[in-house]
């Protein structure tokens, strides 16, 4: 390509300790994470269970304060949640008392930056974008798991964030739906031209979706390796059968396995 694309997210030497109430101990979770995500990129984070992937994502969202270092999104230092970032949570956590449309409108309602009719128009557009035309007035309990995650994505997209944060969004879905949703997510991101940071424990999911995959070490987490996914940009599900895909999968698997072994965890994923 021509001019280098601007940096959307930059994490510099991010350190974070977290007091775990259940075990009554302060854990050293992040041990100097350096990472940049350029505009339009999708970067995935994988790593052994409990390594601090989700904590890092919550810190980027501004839900948790960092104890050292800095996270910048679009040049602004993150101190609290803001409309430039939006999170897609693992559990769909849609509000059961709101219809699909009302759920998608949630972020816009909080901001109160546009008239109600504009909110409805925007939300309707997003409901269509994620392929749920005709379901705008349904309640979440009337939808399947895959459909609820579509709503979850639409809800995050509504305030038009610069950076989309996805925390294992497809973990609760069955294998078939998950694969389908991966392809759908790529389409949605392409259409909306969003930058995304994606957490998963599925290595094939990370490779399939990403431009780069950050492999976190066991806690306290550092980036063990940033793997560039040198697969063609136009992805479809057949790519998963290519030898290069398998190689990458094996490479990342080794890295995670090493870390799991080092920390005494069994590699479960």
């Amino acid at each position: 390509m021509d001019a280098p694309r601007p940096t959307k997210m930059a994490a510099t030497d991010v350190r974070l300790d977290y007091f775990n109430e259940r075990i009554g101990q302060t854990l050293h979770v992040l041990d100097g994470i350096d990472m940049t995500v350029t505009e339009g990129e999708l970067v995935s984070i994988v790593g052994p269970s409990g390594c601090g992937k989700s904590t890092f994502l919550a810190a980027v969202d501004g839900l948790i304060r960092v104890d050292g270092g800095e996270i910048k999104v679009s040049g602004q230092t993150v101190t609290k949640p803001g409309p430039d970032r939006a999170m897609v949570f693992q559990n769909d956590s849609l509000f059961p008392w709101r219809t699909v449309l009302q759920n998608v409108m949630y972020g816009l309602e909080l901001q109160q930056k546009m008239p109600k009719s504009a909110m409805i128009d925007r939300a309707r557009g997003l409901v269509e974008l994620v392929g749920l035309k005709g379901f705008a007035d349904h309640y979440p309990h009337e939808l399947s798991g895959g459909m609820r995650q579509r709503v979850n994505i639409a809800r995050a997209l509504a305030p038009d964030p610069d950076l989309l944060l996805l925390d294992e969004p497809f973990a609760a879905l069955d294998a078939q739906t998950r694969e389908f949703m991966q392809a759908e997510l790529l389409k949605i991101l392409e259409r909306t031209r969003k930058t995304a940071l994606f957490i998963t424990h599925q290595i094939d999911e990370a490779i399939f979706l990403s431009n780069r995959v950050a492999v976190f070490s066991a806690r306290p987490a550092k980036i063990k390796e940033m793997v560039t996914i040198d697969l063609p940009a136009a992805r479809n599900l057949t790519i998963k059968h290519q030898p290069r895909f398998r190689d990458l999968q094996e490479h990342i698997w080794r890295l995670i396995e090493e870390e799991s072994a080092r920390s005494g965890l069994m590699a479960t994923n």
């Binding site: 509000f95 909080l110 399947s144 459909m147």
Partner: protein, 276 residues
Amino acid sequence: MTSVPADTSIAKPVANPRAKSVWRKRENFILGAVAVACFMIFWEASVALGWAKALFVSSPSRIVKALVAMIADGSIWNHLAVSGMEFGIGYTLAVIVGIPLGILMGWYRRLNAVLDPFVSALYATPRIALVPLIIIWFGVDLASKIAIIFLSTVFPILVSTITGVRTIDRDFIKVARSFGASDRQLFMTVALPSSVPMLLTGLRLGLGHALIGIVVGEMIGAQAGIGYMMSLAGATFQTDKVMVGLVIIAGSGMLLTEVLRMIERRYESWRVDTRH
């Protein structure tokens, strides 16, 4: 690939693959109705055959006769109106006080800490134990009945509302915070709506307590009302009339509970099937 979701079929309500027979659809209802009918026949028969004395146990036909007589001479309407008014005012006051106070206590930890000892003590006390005090304070007129019904009803409503506001799903709080919700917005958009199911449960529980309040209040001292009518009839061995009162109390209790259950059921989907 099309953009139509692969999994839409799951969302549509599936029509019954084969129509069930009346029996299979309404089995519980039919069994219940038959059981009640059998009981009525047995009751009527035991009195008719002289196994039991009508003076003590009355009988379905005598209850109906007594009810018809009370409707005919018009005496029942005054009792119903008085009890209905007591219930209406007492229950409404309990709702007006219980729900806002419950919301405040659920939301503000400190307020809850201050008021909790009082609420817990009063909630644990059988409300009947307060009746002598209430009569000292309010006399034996309408005010004391309303006070008894209010006190019976307000605590179940209060405690359920507190629980509803306190037990907000943490995931919902995270979502709201992530979207930048202020404390006020968190309260309005998450705490309040998510407490609705518990709040309705409180209203339903309060209903039962309110009916107890009516009967207890009127039996202790009153000039009219269903409970008064029952205790007067009981004292003069008019078993049929006592039974009429019982039927009215039981019937209105079931009716009102069913109405609230229907409202609750509309919100039931919030509780089930939202978490996996």
